[in-house]
């Protein structure tokens, strides 16, 4: 019991991020529906960003914007994870847009969003 409390108190954000990563990963991998897959992708990506942002956080420090002329490391959090996440968010929105465009195209062609059904139709048409 004590171990669980310790775990939660010291790794709350990381643990939640990993659980979200698992949910997103499983959805992207296993859900047959394309729209759900894309949502899983978004959840997976943003969970990694949550993890990264949590790793940059330091207790009692502020956001890295120098407003009062004090530029000491002891008063600001680590800016690197923030920068990386900023890059990552834009990457994931581009990937999402491409995937959604593919989804629309597939729907126009096959009238379904389930990958399994599309595969069956393709196999049948190929014969």
């Amino acid at each position: 019991m004590q171990a669980v409390i310790d775990y939660i108190s010291s790794n709350l954000f990381e643990g939640v991020a990993i659980i979200l990563f698992g949910i997103g990963f499983t959805t992207l991998f296993l859900h047959p529906n394309l729209i759900k897959k894309i949502m899983g992708l978004n959840i997976m990506d943003s969970s990694v960003y949550l993890f990264l942002a949590a790793k940059g956080f330091v207790f009692g420090r502020k956001a890295p914007i120098v407003t009062d002329g004090v530029a000491e490391m002891e008063s600001y959090i680590n800016p690197i994870p923030t920068g990386l996440v900023l890059t990552g968010i834009v990457v994931s929105v581009s990937v999402t847009a491409v995937m959604l465009a593919l989804t629309i195209r597939l729907y126009w062609r096959y009238h379904t969003l389930e990958m399994d059904e599309i595969m069956q139709i393709i196999r049948k048409e190929g014969k």
Binding site: G24, M44, D45, V48, R105, I122
Partner: protein
Amino acid sequence: MDLCTNFPMFSIILCLMCGVVCSVLKKNMARYVTYGLLTVLVVLSAAVLGYTVSIDGSFIYQMGHFGAPFGNELRAGVLEGVFTVFFSVIMYLSVIAGEKHIYEDVEESKINLYYTLICLMMSSLLALTYTNDVFTAYVFVEINTITAAGLVAVMGNGRAYFSSAKYMIMSLLGSGLLLIGITLLYDVTGHLLLSNIKYAVVTSTIKEYAEPFTIIIALITIGLSIKSALFPFHSWLPDAHTASTISSSAILSSLVLKAYIVLLIKIYYRAIGWETVLETGVNDIVFVFGIMAMIFGSVFAIAQKDVKRMTAYSSVAQIGYIFMGIGIGNAAGVVAAVFHIFAHGATKSMIFTSLGGIKEVSRHSTKLDAIKGAGYRNKVASVAFAVGAFSMVGIPFFPGFVSKINFADAAIDAGGPKMIVILVALAVSTVLNCIYFFRALICLYTPVSDPGGRLTEEVDNTKPTAKYIGAMAFFIVANLFLGTFSDMIIKLITRGLSMFS
């Protein structure tokens, strides 16, 4: 500081700029810009290679005004030079050989966008080779993924869309694992530059995080091997390679898959340290999957009726060779794997482009019974296919043979049970390769009667263009070069790998 050291940065940014410009040009202009760009890239990469060979060392190029741990960096050594020369040459030849097919397969108003994608793909290949920073690598891995999906989907039919979606999904799973691996790596080392990570690993900083470190290596390895279609994750590869236009197939199989392996080797050597990887035993897992890929890829290939699909499955087997070489765990194994990257890249792109020529004279099909007698209808393409088949099977004087010899050498170096497994797998795989490649070759050169004269008519209509013949000839020369002057290249690879650590 010499001017040559600026060339890696110039070549990457030139690719990005040309890609952006191509999107607003007319189709022919875009083509000329792309060819010009690729010519310049060959020259620049060759200059970098020559420079690194002449100083016999590597150099670090600092991107911006801030040095080692603070800014981005590029790094170029002999191995990077060889890789970039190889990438640009193969890209050039694939695009030229498939030019006619691009104009036929791609919609009229989107041809310039196809060339845009080619330029941007090239930038990501170069950046993945040169970069010295894991997060930059992640960004360019994503560029590579999106452009590759675009290159597949550009064909514009349902099958292409489906393959593209499948490719994207598998690839994004890989990116997710890679990203979380990079995140954890940053967390335990506090750096993003490869050399600084290695410093942190070697000094005591890492000791208390030994357990997560194994997981990190495993995550990065799984992520990148999903993206380069190692055996259990290969299901997207045959679809994507079959559905796209000829150039895209060639680029996908010979460059895109290889760029991730280059990145993996780079991370192993320059960030984590080869000894650390061996300690954790991740290479043994890679080895097992590599062996499985070698056997199963060939078995699946035998089951195919379509030559293009068969070639795609053969790629699965060849990727297995490369991972097996990495997994052996000695320096000779990695050298053999790197040489096989070149051998397979040169050969597979040639086979795919030659299939484009064969397809034209066989009623637009690459089924085994359709291509019967194509050897007499399109001579250049068939000769190229034969050369490719010889190389993949492992006939002497062709690159595939050299890499097989190297793998066997490395296995004998390693000794123990691994040696026996590798030698048996190599033998079995060679026999299986023989079966399916020679079956295709025999089909190709079986004379057929031509009752309605339809086939002759087709042949008359589709004379191979001068560009196609030139590209195929160059491919054949490149393969023979790789096969006969392999000593020199292996020496370069060994030199480059020793600079890595």
